[in-house]
C-alpha cells in the first residue's frame, strides 16, 4: 500500500523533471528577454543606452499614445494582420481540403511536400522572387506593356505599397495555414459528412453545416498564427513595402537601428506583444463558443 503510493509520488515527481528543460528554455529565451524588454520600455529615453536602469516612467507610452502616426501604425498592423489572415484562410482552405481528402498515400505525400517546399527557401529569397514578378520592371508590368495595356514608360504599382506587403505575407503564411487546416480537416470523421448526406443534405449543404463548422477550430488557430506572424513580420514590410508601409515592426527598426532609441523601440515592441496577446484572448473566447462550452 505505502510502497504503491510512494511509487505514484515518485512517478509524479519524475513527470515534473521532464518539464524542467522546457521550462528552463522558456525562462531563458522568453520570460527574461520579454521581461527586460518591458523594463526597458519603462526607462526614460536615453539615446544609445541599452542597459536597464531603476528609473521608471510611463513617458514612452504617453508618447506612443499621443502621436497619431504611431497609433496609425498600430491600426495599420492590426488591419494588415486581419486582412492577411482572412485572405490566407480563403486561399488555404481549398488546398488543405484537397490534401486532407486525398487518400492515396503517394499523392498525399507529394502535395504535402509541395507545401513544405515553399517553406524550405529563406523568406528573403522568396520575396526577391516575388519582386521579379510584381516589381515596376517585373514580369506583370512587362506583360502589360507588351500588350499595350499601359504606356511604355508607365507601370502599375504592385509592390512598395500595402497590397504588396499583403501579398508577401500571404505567400509567407500560406504553408502554416495549410498545415494547420489539413490536420483539422483530416481529424473530421468522414462518416459525419456521409450522415449529413443521407439525412438529405447536398454535398454543398453537408459542407456548410458539418465540415466547415467543424473546421472552425483550425480556421481560428490558423488565423491566430497568421495574424501573429503578420503583425510581427519585419522583413516582408521592409522588402515588399519598401519602408513605405509603416507598420509597427518598421517603426521598431527605425527607433532601434536608426535612432538607437532602445527605450522607445522596446515600448513599441511591448505594444506589439500586447496586440498578439489580445488576439490570443479573442481566439480562446471564440474557441470556447465553438466547442460548445468545453475547450
Amino acid at each position: 500500500m505505502s510502497a504503491l503510493s510512494t511509487n505514484v509520488f515518485a512517478q509524479a515527481r519524475m513527470k515534473w523533471l521532464l518539464v524542467v528543460p522546457l521550462l528552463a528554455f522558456f525562462v531563458v529565451f522568453f520570460v527574461i528577454p520579454v521581461g527586460l524588454l518591458f523594463a526597458t520600455s519603462l526607462n526614460p529615453q536615453a539615446i544609445g543606452q541599452v542597459a536597464v536602469t531603476a528609473d521608471l516612467t510611463l513617458d514612452n507610452y504617453l508618447r506612443f499614445f499621443s502621436r497619431s502616426n504611431y497609433l496609425l501604425a498600430a491600426g495599420r498592423s492590426v488591419i494588415l494582420g486581419v486582412i492577411v489572415a482572412a485572405i490566407t484562410v480563403v486561399v488555404a482552405y481549398p488546398m488543405a481540403y484537397v490534401i486532407a481528402k486525398t487518400e492515396h498515400p503517394g499523392r498525399n505525400t507529394f502535395l504535402l511536400i509541395l507545401v513544405l517546399a515553399a517553406m524550405q527557401l529563406d523568406m528573403v529569397i522568396r520575396l526577391y522572387g516575388m519582386m521579379v514578378i510584381l516589381g515596376d520592371e517585373g514580369l506583370i508590368n512587362q506583360m502589360l506593356r507588351g500588350l499595350g495595356l499601359i504606356g511604355a514608360e508607365s507601370s502599375v504599382q504592385l509592390m512598395y505599397n500595402f497590397m504588396g506587403v499583403v501579398m508577401g505575407l500571404v505567400q509567407f503564411a500560406l504553408p502554416f495555414m495549410i498545415l494547420t487546416l489539413v490536420g483539422v480537416i483530416r481529424g473530421i470523421d468522414p462518416s459525419l459528412e456521409e450522415a449529413a448526406r443521407s439525412l438529405g443534405a447536398s454535398r454543398r449543404r453537408a459542407f456548410l453545416r458539418v465540415t466547415l463548422p467543424m473546421s472552425m477550430p483550425g480556421i481560428l488557430s490558423g488565423s491566430l498564427l497568421v495574424f501573429a506572424l503578420s503583425i510581427s513580420s519585419y522583413i516582408v514590410p521592409a522588402l515588399m513595402g519598401g519602408f513605405r508601409v509603416g507598420v509597427l515592426p518598421i517603426h521598431i527598426f527605425q527607433q532601434v537601428a536608426e535612432g538607437a532609441r532602445f527605450q522607445f523601440g522596446a515600448t513599441i515592441a511591448v505594444i506589439l506583444f500586447v496586440l498578439s496577446a489580445l488576439a490570443v484572448a479573442i481566439y480562446l473566447r471564440l474557441g470556447r463558443r465553438h466547442s460548445g462550452g468545453l475547450a
Binding site: 456521409e194 443521407s198 439525412l199 454535398r203 460548445g292
Partner: protein, 348 residues
Amino acid sequence: MGFVQFKGVTKTFGKSVAVDTMDLDIARGEFFSLLGPSGCGKSTTLRMLAGFVAPSTGSIHVHGRDITRLPPEARDIGIVFQNYAIFPHMTVFDNIAFGLVERGENRADIKRKVDAALDQVGLGGFGERFERQLSGGQKQRVALARVLVIEPEILLLDEPLSALDKKMREEMKFWIKNIQKSVGITTIYVTHDQSEALTMSDRIAVMNQGRILQVGSPVEIYERPNSRFIAEFIGESNLLSGRLTAGGVRVGDTVVPAAQAQGADGAEVALLIRPEQIRLEPVTEGEAPMLTGRVADEVYQGALRRYQVETGGQTVTVEVPNRPDLAQLPPGAEVALYWTPESGVALR
C-alpha cells in the same frame, strides 16, 4: 418482387474485389441481416445502397426504381453508423432536427417531431446535450432517432452494437428490434455477430469474401446451413467426416441419417451435429444410438457440462444441461450418443 434489389452488383477497389456479383431481394418491412466475418464486404454493400460508393458493375433497385446513380441525399435511406456519427458541434436536438431542416420543414413541426422522436427513444429532456455528454447507449439512441424522424423508406444499421459493452448490447438488441417492429421500416442490419443476427432478423444473408453463401431465416441458417463455412461460423458445431451412402452418411462403420444427403454415393462430406442437440447416455441394451464412444474429457461450465467424446478416431463435443437427474459420465466411460434424425446435416 423484392422491395430492395441488388442485381449482379460488384465492387472492386483496385484489384481487390470487395463485393462479388451480388444478387439480393429484400421484402418491404423485413428485418434483413448481412452476416459475415470482418472484411467480407458487408459495409461496402451497405454503403452502395446508401449511395456513398458506386458499384463497379450491376444495379440497385428500390421499389422497382433504379437508384444506382442517385446521390445519397436523393435516396430516402437512413443509416446508423458503427460510431454513430453524431454531429459533435450540435446539440442532440439539432442533430435530430438535421434532416427535417434539410427538408425545409417549419420550426413548429421540427420542434414537435424532434420532441416526439426523443420520447420515442427514451431521451426526453436530453435535447440540449452535446455528444460528449452522452453514454454509448444514448448516442446510439440519438443516431437512431435522427434517422427515424425523417421517416426514410429503408433503415441501414452498420454494426450498431459493436461499440457497446456486453450488457448494453443485449439490451439494445431487443430495443432496436422492437422499434423496428413498431415502425415497420425495412431494415438492413450488418453484423459479424451471429447471435445478433439470429436474435433480430427475419432473414439473414451469410457472406464471405464478397459473396453471399446462403440466404434464409435464422432457423434455416442455423439448422440447415448449406456449407461447412456457415456451420462453423454460426454457433458451435461438430463436423464429422464421412461418406455419402444410401441411408445418409457413413461415419466410421455406422450409417447415420442426415438431411441434405444428396449426391454421388461415396462422396466425401461432413456431418454436422450441434453440441446441444446430442443426448449422452451410458451404453445400454435399449434403443440403438447414432454413435457410440468414450468420454475423453469433461468440463464443468455451471449451466452445462461439456464433454469431448472419442468416436472412431474423431472427437464430438456434447453439451449436456447440468441436471442432477442426468447420469454422471466420468472420463473413460463408454457412452452412447443420441440425436433426432433431423439434427444431422450432410455438408459438402
